[in-house]
Symmetry: C2
Subunit: 263 residues, 2 copies
C-alpha cells in the first residue's frame, strides 16, 4: 500500500458510514487540498458501490476540514443496471465539510470512438521545470507527495512574468512510485496552482464547486495536466482541466468555479 | 408572467418544500427536458436563498419525471456572508428524480477582468437555419417554446451529412418575448440536440450529470449557444456548452456527461 493509498483509506463502519483519517501531508498553505479530499470521499463511494469506477463527481466545498479523523456518510440515490448514484458527505465533528454527488459505473477498456486534441501542445517533460521547494513554514506539505514539472510559460508568474492568460500546465506523478488510478486523478485535477495566477491574481483561491469526469483508466507513467480558464469576472474564475495519460488518452476532465484570492 | 415563468413556478409550502407543476410543453420525444427541470428546481432554490443568482448548479439525473405535480425539497448546507449552498431534490410520488447541489450568490454588474473568445465564430443569425417542425406524434413539445437558428454545418447530421465531430451551435431565444435570465439560461445549456449527433450518433442520449455556472446576467436579445465534445468513449460522451449574450459576454458555461443513444 502506498502512502497515498494509506492517506486516502476509508474503513467501512456500516453501509452508510466510513471512517477516514485526513492526512496533514496534503496541505496547501494551511487547508487540505480539495483533490485529496475528493479522493478520500471516492474511496468510500467506490467501496460501497457494485461498480468499480467513479465516473462523475460533483463536489461542493462548504468548509475546510482539518487533519485528523473524519467520516464519509453515504446515501444511495439509485442503483441501476449499469451505474449507481450516491450522495457522499465528508463530516468532521458532526459538521458537513464537502458535499458530493457521484456516479459510479464500470468502464470497459474500449478504444475511443472520437477524440479531440489537447488545446496546447506541451514540450517534453525534460524541458519542463519544477518550482523550488516551499519553505517549511508555508505549510505546502502537498508538494512533497507529487512530482510536478511545469510548462515554463505557465509558471512565468512565479518570477514576475505572468502570461496574462489563466493557464497552468504540467507533467505530474506521485513522488512514491505509484501507477495513476482514478483516486490519483481526483488529486491531479486539483493539483496545480490556480490558473488565475498566470493572469496576475494572487492569494488563496478557494474552490466553490468542482465537477470532474473519469473518461478512461490511465496508463502507467507521467500524466499531463492541461488547465485553462475562460473568464475572470466579479471575483469568480473558472478552471478547466484535462488530464492526458502517457498513452495519449484523455483520462479526466474537470471544471471548477473558484473565488479570486484577495491576497 | 410569461408561459416559461409560469411553467417553472415554485410555490413555497414551508422553508424546505416547494410545490411545482411540471409542464408537458417541455418534452423532448417523451421525457421532459433536463434544462427545463433545472430551471424549476432553481426557482425554489433562489426563492429560499438570501442571494439572487444560481451561480453553480450540479445536477444528477436519476430518473425521468412525468408532467404534473411534483415537489422541490431543499436542504440548506451553508449560508455564508457572500454565498449560500443548498441541496435541492426534485420529487414526484415520494421518489427522487433529480438531485442537485446549488451555490447562490449575488453577481455584481462588474466588467470582466479577463475573457477568452468563442472557440468557433458563428455566422450572423440570418444565415442560420431552423429545423423543420417535428411531427406532433414525436412529442417534441419543447420546440414550440423556443426559437433556435442553427449554424448550418452543426445540423448537417439532419440531412445525412454529419461533420464527424461532436458539435452543436445555434442562436436561441424564447418564442414568447422574454428577456433571458438565469432560468432561461438553465434551459439554454441543455436545449440543443446532443453534440454526439454531429459525430454520427443517434437516439435518446440521457444526461447523467450536468454542471453549469452562471457567469454574468445576460443582456436582452438572442443568445449564442456553442457546444462541442472532447471524447466519445465506452458509450459515454461529454458535451461542453458556452452561452454568449447579445452583448458579447460569456454568461454561462456547462458540461454534461451523457450516455450514447442505442437508437
Amino acid at each position: 500500500m502506498t502512502k497515498f493509498d494509506e492517506a486516502t483509506q476509508a474503513i467501512r463502519v456500516d453501509e452508510t458510514t466510513y471512517d477516514v483519517c485526513l492526512d496533514p501531508g496534503y496541505a496547501i498553505g494551511g487547508p487540505l487540498n480539495g483533490g485529496y479530499l475528493m479522493a478520500v470521499i471516492l474511496r468510500a463511494v467506490v467501496d460501497a458501490s457494485p461498480y468499480e469506477h467513479p465516473v462523475t463527481t460533483a463536489a461542493q466545498f462548504l468548509r475546510s476540514p482539518g487533519p485528523g479523523p473524519a467520516r464519509v456518510r453515504l446515501e444511495q440515490l439509485k442503483t441501476g443496471k449499469t451505474a449507481a448514484m450516491t450522495r457522499a458527505t465528508l463530516i468532521q465533528d458532526d459538521t458537513a465539510y464537502i458535499e458530493t454527488l457521484v456516479t459510479t459505473a464500470t468502464l470497459g477498456g474500449g478504444a475511443s470512438e472520437w477524440t479531440g486534441e489537447p488545446a496546447v501542445v506541451m514540450p517534453p517533460v525534460e524541458e519542463c521545470l519544477g518550482l523550488p521547494d516551499p519553505k517549511p513554514e508555508s505549510n505546502m506539505t502537498l508538494n512533497a507527495q507529487m512530482e510536478v514539472r511545469f510548462d515554463p510559460p505557465s509558471i512565468g508568474w512565479f518570477t514576475g512574468a505572468p502570461t496574462g492568460r489563466p493557464e497552468s500546465r504540467a507533467y505530474f506523478r506521485m513522488s512514491e512510485p505509484q501507477d495513476p488510478d482514478p483516486f490519483v486523478l481526483a488529486l491531479a485535477v486539483d493539483a496545480l496552482p490556480p490558473v488565475a495566477f498566470s493572469a496576475g491574481a494572487r492569494g488563496w483561491a478557494p474552490t466553490v464547486e468542482l465537477t470532474w469526469h473519469l473518461r478512461a483508466l490511465p496508463a502507467p507513467g507521467w500524466l499531463k495536466i492541461v488547465g485553462h480558464g475562460r473568464l475572470i469576472r466579479d471575483g469568480w474564475f473558472d478552471e478547466d482541466v484535462e488530464v492526458w495519460d502517457a498513452g495519449g488518452n484523455l483520462v479526466a476532465q474537470s471544471r471548477q468555479l473558484a473565488r479570486l484570492g484577495r491576497g
